[in-house]
Each structure stands twice: as structure tokens, then as C-alpha cells.
Amino acid sequence: MTQVNAPMVGKVLSVDVKVGDQVKKNDVLVTLEAMKMQIKVYAPADGEVAEVNCNAGDVVSTDTVVVALK
């Protein structure tokens, strides 16, 4: 299982995958807003989305696992 943490404190603008999706490395998983900038969180490896732990509007920090891949 590969856990993907939020890279910084920010607000979730959109969750761009759902459980069961197949993703490739560098596909966008989640889009955050931090410092008035859109930050895309990319998949670190190929895999299947096993968990999505955030929703649009949530505030996440670096200890938040936003998505888990298997």
C-alpha cells in the first residue's frame, strides 16, 4: 500500500480519483489550494486507488493521508 500525504497544509479543491480507479505515476489524485495557488498532488507510482480520505472543502496537513494506492 502506498500512502500519499498532502505535501503541505491546504484546502482540498477537488478529489480527482475515486476508489477502484487505476492510476499511473504522475496522474493527478487531488487538487489543493495553498497560498492562493492550485497545487496538484500526483500519484507517486502506478496502482489502484484503495482509499480516498478527503473531500472537497476539507483542510488537510502534511500528516493527512489523502489517498492510498495498492
Binding site: N5, P7, M8, N26, A34, M35, K36, M37, I39, K40, Y42, P44, S61, T62
Partner: protein, 372 residues
């Protein structure tokens, strides 16, 4: 009757309008266009533009002793009141967390001041400017408007309009100025270097930082005190979280009020006599030099640090030392992501970015100490 008619006609502003006034209006219209249509620093360029526009009407008395713009300028800017109040608001909006988490970034912010000194010596070398004027041109490289205005008020008030418009204009051009220089000085491999998660500083560290930074900086460069003291007290308001009302006023209402007065006051200094000359062109040319060297200074020091340290940094974050908070950090983040999507440099770049603001205030203090 004839004399009365002559007096009435002579009292009409239109009879005293000069080509210089009209030229300055055109410059004001360019500033309006940049602010309204292009979104270039509208909070500053719009009031500055209107200040230029209004100051170039004949016979208004706005700029004479006791006139409205004279009061804004004399009591707000010449007496060094408004730039420190802007710094109060900036302090109440600044998160020093990235600097505390990685204190090395303070050095990167300091290195970016290379641009200030390169432009200073460059301006002196042209022979067009005296030492005080050259210092004001150099400070453009710090990409910090209030500091540029603060230094101009101290050293060369006649240059304030050109220096501040150049500083704010080039700040808006950071996304165009930084990338080619940072790319030329780094390999793709260096730009792709990911930086790990940043540690989150504790609340105590964040409260201690502004006090400690004040002690160190003001003891070293006492003349930076007006800017640094206000910057740090604003930050202490925010981080202590016990004076939310003061924090709110400092970064919202007060900041907005002084921004209006600052913009109009600075704009009113841009009369045809003081602006339409070869020195203004020199200011804009040397301003680009200042920004270019500031970017290069930060990147090159980051590369140098990597030769001697174990925890290496992505050299791109050095480019954020030019200040222009947080735009420079955003540009650096985008460049890092372009080289490697797994690279999240935004918060790492905020360290040198914020340190650059401190560095520029210190550089201004050093100029005042050395020159006045």
C-alpha cells in the same frame, strides 16, 4: 473688464497645461491599464496612477505646502510613517514557519541581495547617478515596494516615483524574469531534486522567532529598526493569538488605509519635471539588472551550499530570495513541478522568500547607515 476677463482666463487650468502634464497623464493611463486590464499590482498601481494623474493638473495646489497630496507625502512618506505601517500588516500576514524549519533559507534570502548591490555598483558605474540615487536603484532588486519607498524617502526623494513604479512593475514580472535565469543556472536534474516534507515548527518557536530576529537584526543594523520592528511586532500579534483584534486591524483595515495614502502620496511625486528625464530610463534599466542578479545570487548560493551540506536543497528555491512574496515562491514551485511532478517546493521556497523581505530591509538599513 478686460483685466477681469484676463484673470478669469488665466485662472483656468487648461491655460497652464503643459506637454509634460499631458505626457504624465499618458503614463497614468498606462498604469490604469496595467492595474485594471492586466491585474498588475492593482492595489498599488491604481492609487499611484491616480496620484500621477491628479498631481499633473495645473494650479490645483495639491502639491504645495498644506495641499492634500503634500500632507499625504510629507506626513506619511517623508516622515517614514507609512512604509513601517505596511510592514506591520505584512508581519501580521507572514508565516515564518518555513524559515524556522530550515534556517539555512535565511542565507538564501541574504544572497538574493546580490542584486541590490550589483545594481547599486552598476548605477554608480554609469556615472548618471550619485551614491544616494544608486542605493535607491539597487534596492529595487529587493523586490519590496515599501522598503524601496522607505529608502527613497531617506536618500533620494526625487527618485521615489520612478523607483517605486519600477519596483512594483518588475515584481509583477517575476514570472517572466525568474524562469530564464534560474533555468540557465541549473540543470534539469537539479531542478527535479525533490525536497522532503518540512517539519512543522511549534507555537513556541513561532512566538520566539520575531523577538529573537528583532534582537539579532536591530543590534546588527540599527537603522533597519523602523521596518524590522514593525514587521516583527505584526508577526508577534499574529503568532501569539491573544490580540486577534490588533492582528485583524493590522493586516486588513490599517493596511488598506495606508495603502491608499501610500499610493496617492507616491504617485503625486511623479510630476513631469521629476519623472521625464534620462535618469528615469536608467532606473528602469538598472531595475532589471537588480532583479536578474538577485535571482542569480540566491540560486548560486543554494548550489554552493549543496557542495558543503548533507541535507541538500533544490537550488531553485534560492530564486525565491528576491522577495515578491509569495509570487516568487509560486514561480519556483511551478518550475520544480515542471521538472518533476513529485516536487512540491512551495513551502520550501517560502523560507528564502520571507527571508528576502528581511534581507532587503536590512540592506536598506545598511545603506542609510553607510551613506547618510
Amino acid at each position: 473688464m478686460n483685466q477681469l476677463m484676463t484673470e478669469i482666463i488665466d485662472g483656468l487650468g487648461v491655460m497652464h497645461l503643459t506637454p509634460g502634464n499631458v505626457a504624465m497623464w499618458l503614463i497614468a493611463f498606462v498604469l490604469f491599464y496595467l492595474a485594471i486590464k492586466k491585474g498588475v499590482e492593482p492595489l498599488l498601481l491604481l492609487p499611484i496612477g491616480f496620484g500621477v494623474f491628479a498631481a499633473n493638473f495645473p494650479l490645483t495646489g495639491l502639491l504645495e505646502e498644506g495641499g492634500l497630496f503634500y500632507i499625504f507625502y510629507h506626513y506619511g512618506i517623508e516622515n517614514e510613517l507609512i512604509p513601517p505601517l505596511i510592514f506591520l500588516g505584512l508581519g501580521a500576514m507572514t508565516d515564518f514557519g518555513p524559515v524556522i524549519a530550515n534556517p539555512k533559507t535565511l542565507l538564501l534570502g541574504a544572497a538574493a541581495q546580490l542584486g541590490v548591490y550589483a545594481a547599486f555598483f552598476g548605477a554608480l558605474f554609469t556615472g548618471l547617478f550619485n551614491v544616494k540615487e544608486a542605493a535607491c536603484i539597487g534596492i529595487i532588486g529587493g523586490a519590496d515596494g515599501p522598503t524601496s519607498i522607505f529608502l527613497s524617502a531617506n536618500l533620494a526623494p526625487h527618485m521615489m516615483g520612478a523607483v517605486s513604479v519600477a519596483a512594483y512593475s518588475y515584481m509583477a514580472l517575476v514570472p517572466i524574469i525568474i524562469p530564464p535565469i534560474a533555468k540557465a543556472l541549473t540543470t534539469k536534474q537539479e531542478r527535479a531534486m525533490p525536497m522532503g516534507m518540512m517539519r512543522m515548527p511549534s507555537k513556541t518557536e513561532k512566538i520566539v522567532f520575531p523577538v529573537l530576529a528583532s534582537i539579532v537584526i536591530i543590534l546588527l543594523v540599527p537603522k533597519s529598526a523602523p521596518l524590522i520592528a514593525m514587521f516583527m511586532v505584526g508577526n508577534l500579534f499574529m503568532e501569539s493569538a491573544v490580540v486577534d483584534r490588533l492582528t485583524d486591524v493590522a493586516r486588513n483595515a490599517l493596511m488598506n488605509i495606508v495603502t491608499i495614502l501610500l499610493g496617492l502620496g507616491v504617485g503625486s511625486t511623479m510630476t513631469a519635471d521629476s519623472f521625464l528625464n534620462s535618469k528615469t530610463i536608467g532606473v528602469f534599466i538598472m531595475g532589471v539588472v537588480a532583479f536578474a542578479f538577485a535571482t542569480a545570487g540566491g540560486v548560486l548560493l543554494a548550489k554552493l551550499m549543496n557542495l558543503f551540506t548533507k541535507n541538500k536543497v533544490n537550488p531553485l528555491i534560492g530564486a525565491a530570495g528576491v522577495s515578491a512574496v509569495p509570487m516568487a515562491a509560486r514561480v519556483v514551485h511551478n518550475m520544480g513541478t515542471e521538472a518533476n511532478p513529485q516536487n512540491y517546493l512551495l513551502m520550501h521556497a517560502m523560507g528564502p522568500n520571507v527571508a528576502g523581505v528581511i534581507g532587503t530591509a536590512v540592506a536598506a538599513g545598511a545603506f542609510i547607515t553607510a551613506i547618510l
